[in-house]
């Protein structure tokens, strides 16, 4: 598997991980490492911020290892999100980080569910694309909105599996299938990334088994009882899910057909020189 190509970047891992909600910077750093990801998303804000310990997040991110994906978390209008995106670009340019040309666009519609606002997201996506950004666009699982976002130039559409932080996994695989069918029709390499809602490892595998190209997650790792171990679980789950998708799974049936009774059998009955045999 050559990995995930999105927004002009080639990522070895198909997991993108967030940096929020960790108990400490060292825990974050070790969890990111355990996840195997080479792309880390960070929120952009205008105010300077230390953590409780006076520590700077950038001191804990090895910028030789990770490409940064600035995101506009916490923005509720297209205008705010566009401003945040531009600020992120400036910052990453000053860091010489390759992530200065892209942005994960989040325009929220609601502070409780953190679900996206469809109209404001669409407007911001169009504008940012015009201004040269590669826009990875967080959205609901609505197939119509997903098509609109691709049409205005989104570099990737990122449907939510369920509300951010809910841990509900993929609540509507039917919609995700439709999105994948639509966005990849005549364009099989167009990247679709499931963003939000992951609760545990099997949710990640399921996303890939549906045909998603990537998964972005944060809370499921950061708020697990053991974040570093959960990060490792997520790494394996992404490898498992992608391979399972590419392997062509067996169909589901009410019941299986009986296997041949003669397969994979050992026996004492001699034949030729061998005392035991298989089919």
């Amino acid at each position: 598997d050559p990995g995930l190509v999105v927004g002009g970047h080639q990522l070895k891992s198909r997991l993108i991980v967030g940096t929020g909600r960790y108990d400490s910077m060292p825990q974050m750093r070790d969890s990111l490492m355990a996840s195997g990801s080479d792309c880390v998303t960070v929120a952009v804000r205008r105010e300077k911020l230390y953590d409780r310990m006076g520590q700077n997040i950038l001191d804990f991110l090895d910028l030789d290892r990770y490409i940064l994906l600035p995101n506009t978390a916490g923005c509720y209008t297209a205008k705010d999100a566009i401003r945040a995106a531009k600020l992120g670009r400036e910052i990453l340019r000053s860091l010489d980080n390759a992530g200065s040309d892209w942005v994960k666009l989040e325009v929220l519609g609601d502070s409780k569910t953190l679900l996206p606002d469809p109209s404001q997201t669409l407007a911001a996506c169009e504008e940012l694309t015009k201004e040269g950004f590669k826009v990875l666009c967080y959205t609901s699982d609505c197939p119509v909105t997903a098509q609109r976002l691709k049409a205005v130039g989104a570099a990737s559409v990122m449907p939510a599996g369920s509300p951010i932080g809910s841990g509900q996994g993929l609540l509507n695989p039917n919609n995700l299938r439709i999105i994948l069918e639509y966005l990849k029709e005549d364009d099989p390499d167009y990247p679709v990334i499931i963003d939000a809602g992951v609760g545990t490892a099997s949710d990640v595998s399921e996303a890939f088994e549906l045909g998603a190209d990537g998964v972005l997650l944060n809370t499921a790792i950061a708020h697990a009882r053991d974040p570093i171990r959960m990060a490792r679980a997520m790494k394996h789950a992404s490898l498992a899910g992608r391979d399972a998708y590419l392997s062509g799974r067996i169909p589901k049936r009410l019941y299986g057909t009986a296997s041949s009774p003669e397969e994979g059998v050992i026996s004492t009955r001699p034949y030729g020189s061998a005392p035991l045999s298989g089919k």
Copy 2:
């Protein structure tokens, strides 16, 4: 993770894999290798058997690498299953394989679904245990039968996720949870292995996330379009699921609570010598 301890054996991998239904012996050999398993289950029969090519299954199983787990697949009565178990013991003794002291007991009730017969299974399990076998016992997801099997001495209870070869995954997690609760009450190390029904990688992860100690599977790998890749997927899925279980996943909620707006943020506002900072 120290791996799976069952029937007196210590296995590094928590996956047990079958040997049936492959297109060819080399494909089987390579798939078993890719699965990372160190325990392979083989059916025991009285008739000598070559495959279509005149090949012997044992020529394709590296017995230094794998412990064999003889199984009684294809038996429909306690009597037949007991006879098969004893035959398997003889064969494995002649091979000096460590698996001669255990058996995976299958007593089928129905040739279409390959679901187990509860009464005959219970009778055979009791008898084989008395005769010194470590019995790993295939059963339905019925919590009452699971308790009965443990009570007569089963070394492991192996509930089916769904009918053999159906690819339906875990159809009744509620019953599996009850089985795990019952069999591990005051005996947390008692091994419960999900056997049958796995269709794809996320099914394996889910089994471990429920708290299962191991997963046994065959058709999901052997009948995938690309068995070797699917075997690798299953290896990662078992690692993912077990780690996720041990990590303590986040709870499911209708919607998540908003993260602090100040976590994981980068900013241009200078402070001290750093031009950018995170919380």
Copy 3:
């Protein structure tokens, strides 16, 4: 719909309702009435019993309206269940109630889940059938056990949707489908009744939509906040589910095919004498 024929009895309603767990006898009486059922199941015991108010359950059951179905709830061995069945027969004979020739057999395997014991149930079913009882037999959703019970003469097999009182509904429709397929093969009128686990009205409809002939429930009504209204809901749900099953539902699809744009339309364009028209 001619109703449910089971054990030689013709019931107008396809719901069978229990009498336990109500706050009061009058509440029970009114709930039974609201359910529309004409068959009520009652537990048989050797000890005399008044309720808290010194009231006798039989004073609250209109025996001209309801056929009684004695059940062996609370029995954990075949022997106990057989004794209870015989006692119930005596009692119902003394009441001249038509239900003296049948019994709902319950042999529990576990006092926490109240799930059935497969072996003891099978033994009791066989014995009671030999003694001339029409046996309606509570069992798990295991297709093998269901077949065994029919084979020894059960007048009806009654698989549990989920554990008694759990309100989980039908946890494994796949197994229920297999049971229906098996027991009705070449015998389409053989009655299969879903017993246990119902939580709300849609669970009842689902049971009928799968093809069940009847549903038996108790706790979902008796422990609802408003039992009488819930009983009415269950009546409608049984009518809805049975009719839906017989109607031949539309298939499930990823998305629907667009309806003709010209169907069911009104318009201002005049044609002939009509100012408005539909296709």
Copy 4:
């Protein structure tokens, strides 16, 4: 249950039924009758239309019995939908039908899934509300869009359970719960109607059990093998679901608590004058 109050109208039935996709006008007429609905939705178009037999839909709708709900099916822009709404108003005024003041707004985003376009729907809803319409607004299950539609004055928000005609039922109850929580907060009588996706009777019951005020459906009846019987099923399912919701269902549990062994029991042990007794 006083029925459904929406857009200033009081409906006895909580089902709203469509008129499309029937094999014949008489079949439609009889199905509508069997559904028990008193509100029928009809598409509005500019072209005159007869059916294959030259029949006018209005000749088959008893306008004394049904209030008509004109809908804008087949419109893909706000502009078209507004025009259709106004045309419907004219037509219904000419018929003196009470439905001339309301409209079911559908602005589709995609001709394959028939899912709604969020932006165009919002724009049309706002405009039509300003022009005095009571707007019942078809939308996806997105909680943010649902809130926006209520905010611009929708008389009812009508989230889709799944794509029109898919028969998938309610694919994302989590989103529907959030919509109900949000739209009914401090406004418990605000009507939320599930529109689209119903496949069978239990889907209707589930919608009401979640707390929906009404259900609109068409294909599930019109394309059933026996539409008239399915219409009757839907009538009962709506009564069942609404009553179940109001009854306060029992909670779901891993397993139920054992009922008292002494409830609902009959016995031979005499006490006082009664030969048999219950608790």
